[in-house]
Each structure stands twice: as structure tokens, then as C-alpha cells.
Subunit: 234 residues, 2 copies
DNA sequence: TAGTGGTCTAGACCACAAA
DNA sequence: TTGTGGTCTAGACCACTAG
């Protein structure tokens, strides 16, 4: 119910509108005034209130339809932004010293699970990479990658010795689409060994399959050290 | 290098600009033309290219600074939107029959870990809720909630018998801020029993602490059935 | 068909940061 | 100081959709 306090400023207007929603003055399902009316109330143009309304709509607080007007979302499905970072960068940003060790890099046939996940028949060789990331010298994450050789042409073992695959890929084969799955699992024996944990320790596993346009780049399995938490917020 | 193909349309411009980034025509760190120049190139106004540029910047593809100009992000930290849904809704949306069973609801003192997580001293009683969600009759998720009684006044055991806490909270005490943590763990004995799994099965645990403005609402621990995956994409 | 949001224009002023 | 993006205005036309 705040009036046009200071001046017309789309962020202020957004805050005011959000306040009405979160305070319960406007309830889920309610129809809110039209843009023209709000513009009049806030003493600004329709463009300005429009921007505030658009922002609240993309954030999930409002539903907008032409002719149907703007309503308060009945079911505000909130989205928590989950970072998909360069691993070493993430470690450094957490204030730790980031280490990287290539454990394995070779061509080979993917096993059935990987081939199925990638939608391949399993008879085409992929580039397999295993690497360990450390934070302050302590095992932090282990990655298993299966990459389509034709798509990542130019990526050699020599490069991988010095540079994590994700950094090379970011610059040379940037992804345009990715599917991400997060689950809890027990690490395979070699991963457990690298992480220095017992093989039956619950481990957070992130699986990411990525494409560049229509071309498959490959798959990443990222095993986190025990106790590692993925955090975000709203 | 596409010209002003059809007409000035901010989505088309965004697509064209994104194409230049993803094709490698513009590389990370590169400075891109100023708004005025792009407007000239696309034969539209600065507002229109500005909208396309703003969109790409919020998506993480561009960095913009006044006077400094616009550059291609050197480190495009992509964000994957993670849904924070009403649990029953999510089960239904997956095409399953959603079931809800209240397992426990009582006032009690939180244990040390919960009190610490909530930043409480542990001498104030909280409302504890345990509930089981099923999908097609099969155990799907178990939630443990600790709620601050003063903040959720009106939430009774009678209500909780019929309605999951999250649905009541959504309508009556909508959160304005939340911290979310995702980790792998072994479920406590009572959770393992409810999920009908062995206690040493790796389980995906989502912990969410939520506030309404400055007031603490409470904490949720959501244990997922074995094999459950959290999925998202870019 | 009429009303609503979605978009674009042409111009202006302002805020911030680099030189 | 100066150049860049950030925002706002006043107006117009268009696209979708509810009635």
C-alpha cells in the first residue's frame, strides 16, 4: 500500500510490489492492477512498471498473460541457482589452495552404463580421463570424463597433464547445452582410493552430459569428498 | 557476422550475439562493440540492443561496466536452475500418484546439530515434524522439520494430518530467504525404516533453512529414496 | 472483438569508472 | 574529464487471448 515514495525507479517499484505479495496483501491467485493503473499510481510510464512486473514474473512471483492480466502466482516454484563452476576456480574461491592431478587418460570403449547414458552403442572408442582435485593438499573431488574424440580434437595427454579438462574445454569446446544429475552413491574402488575414503562412504555424485549445438561433447562424473556440501540459496 | 537479417527484434539480436560468442568469433575477454555501434549495425535503437545485451549479461555470457564497455565473460559461471518445489506437486508432475503420511509431530528441544545449524542455543522448544512421501505407494522422501512455534502459529497436528507442511507454509508463512545444502549421507535409523532401506544406503539429503524477512521459520531435512536423482539442465 | 501485456522508437539525463 | 552503460519518458503499434 506504499505510495510513490521517493521517485519512479523500477527497482523500488519491484520492491514495493514484492512487499505486497510477501506481506499477504496480494494473495496467490489474486489479480493485480493493470500496467496503466500501476504506472498512474507510481507516477511513471508503463515501461517502468512493466520492467518491474517482468522481473517479478521471471522470478516466479507473478503470472502474466495478454488480455488475462497479471496475477500472483498460486504456486511460486522457486528456482535456486546452482553454480556450474570451473572446479579449480571454485576451490580457490573457497579460499583454498587448488591442486590438480591427472590420474589416467586413454582411449577405450565405454562400459554399458556410460554408453547408455550417452546414447551410444558402445562400439565407438571414447577418450577417458580420470583426475583428482585437491584443496590445501586434501583430496576434494575426483572426475571421470568420457569425451567424444572427434568433438574434442586437439585435446592431448600433454595438455591434460598441466590443465584440467574443464578449463581446456571452456576455451576450445564451450558447451551450449547440458544435462545435470545429482545423486548419492558409493564411489567405485579407484575413486575411493583417490579420495582416501572407505568404498562404502556415501558420496555426492554429479553427472553432467554436455553438447555443443547438436554434437555430443561427452560426460562427466564428479565424485565429491565425504562431507562435501553443495550449497545455494534463494 | 550475421547482418540485420529480418528486422530488429531483441530476441533475434540476442541469438545473433550469442552465436558469435559460442562460435568463437568473439572469444572470452574480447571487448564487443558499444551499444551505439550495435544499434547502428542492427538498425534499431540502443534500447533494443541494450535489452539483448542485458539478457546475455544476466545469463553470464557478458560482463558489462560503465565506461569499461562490454566484454565476453572470461569465466562464464553458468547457473543451473534447481527447482524448489512443493514435494507432492513434484511427485505428481513426474506422473506418479503422490501419497503423504505424517509420522510424528511434537514439540521438543532440538538436538545439538540442529540447534547449531539454526543458530539457536537449544533451550527453546521447536515444533518437530516427520513425514513420509510416497510415489505410487513406494517410499519416496522423508522429511524432518524443525519449526519455530511463534513463527508458524496456527499450524496444528490436525492440519498436518491432512496437508503436508510445505503446502501450509507456502500459503501461510511464505519464505523470503532460504539457504540450501545438498549432500550425501547415511539416513538415521528411523528414516531408513520409513524409506525401507538399509541404514548404510547412501542417501541424498537436502537441508533447507528458511526465513520470513528477518524471522527464522525453521529447518527442513529431506531424505531421498535410494537412486533418486536431482536433475536440471542448462 | 476488445483489452491486456510485449515490444520498439527517439530522445534525454544520470551514474559510474577509466584515462 | 569523458565515455560507457543504466534508466526513464512519451508515444506507438503489435500479438495474444478472454469473453
Amino acid at each position: 500500500m506504499t505510495g510513490p515514495a521517493g521517485k519512479a525507479d523500477w527497482k523500488a517499484i519491484r520492491g514495493d510490489l514484492l512487499g505486497r505479495i510477501q506481506s499477504g496483501a496480494w494473495k496467490p491467485g489474486d489479480q493485480i492492477p493493470r500496467e496503466v493503473e500501476l504506472a498512474e499510481h507510481y507516477e511513471c510510464t508503463r515501461s517502468t512498471v512493466g520492467r518491474a512486473l517482468r522481473d517479478l514474473a521471471t522470478a516466479g512471483f507473478l503470472d502474466r498473460k495478454r488480455k488475462g492480466g497479471t496475477t500472483v502466482s498460486a504456486n511460486p516454484v522457486r528456482k535456486a541457482p546452482l553454480d556450474v563452476p570451473i572446479i579449480s576456480e571454485a576451490i580457490r574461491k573457497a579460499g583454498h589452495d587448488a591442486g590438480y592431478h591427472l590420474l589416467d587418460a586413454r582411449e577405450g570403449l565405454p562400459d554399458g552404463a556410460v554408453a547408455a547414458e550417452l546414447g551410444l552403442r558402445g562400439d565407438a572408442p571414447l577418450l577417458f580421463i580420470a583426475a583428482l582435485y585437491t584443496a590445501n593438499g586434501v583430496p576434494h573431488q575426483v572426475e571421470h570424463r568420457w569425451l567424444v574424440p572427434a568433438t574434442v580434437a586437439g585435446l592431448s595427454r600433454g595438455i591434460l597433464n598441466d590443465m584440467p579438462a574443464d578449463e581446456w574445454l571452456l576455451r576450445n569446446v564451450p558447451l551450449t547445452r547440458a544435462q545435470i544429475a545429482i545423486e548419492a552413491t558409493c564411489p567405485p574402488p579407484d575413486v575411493a582410493r583417490a579420495l582416501q575414503t572407505a568404498p562404502d562412504t556415501p558420496t555426492l555424485l554429479i553427472t553432467r552430459t554436455s553438447w555443443r549445438q547438436a554434437r555430443l561433447i561427452g560426460m562427466l562424473r564428479l565424485y565429491h569428498a565425504p562431507g562435501h556440501r553443495l550449497t545455494t540459496g534463494i
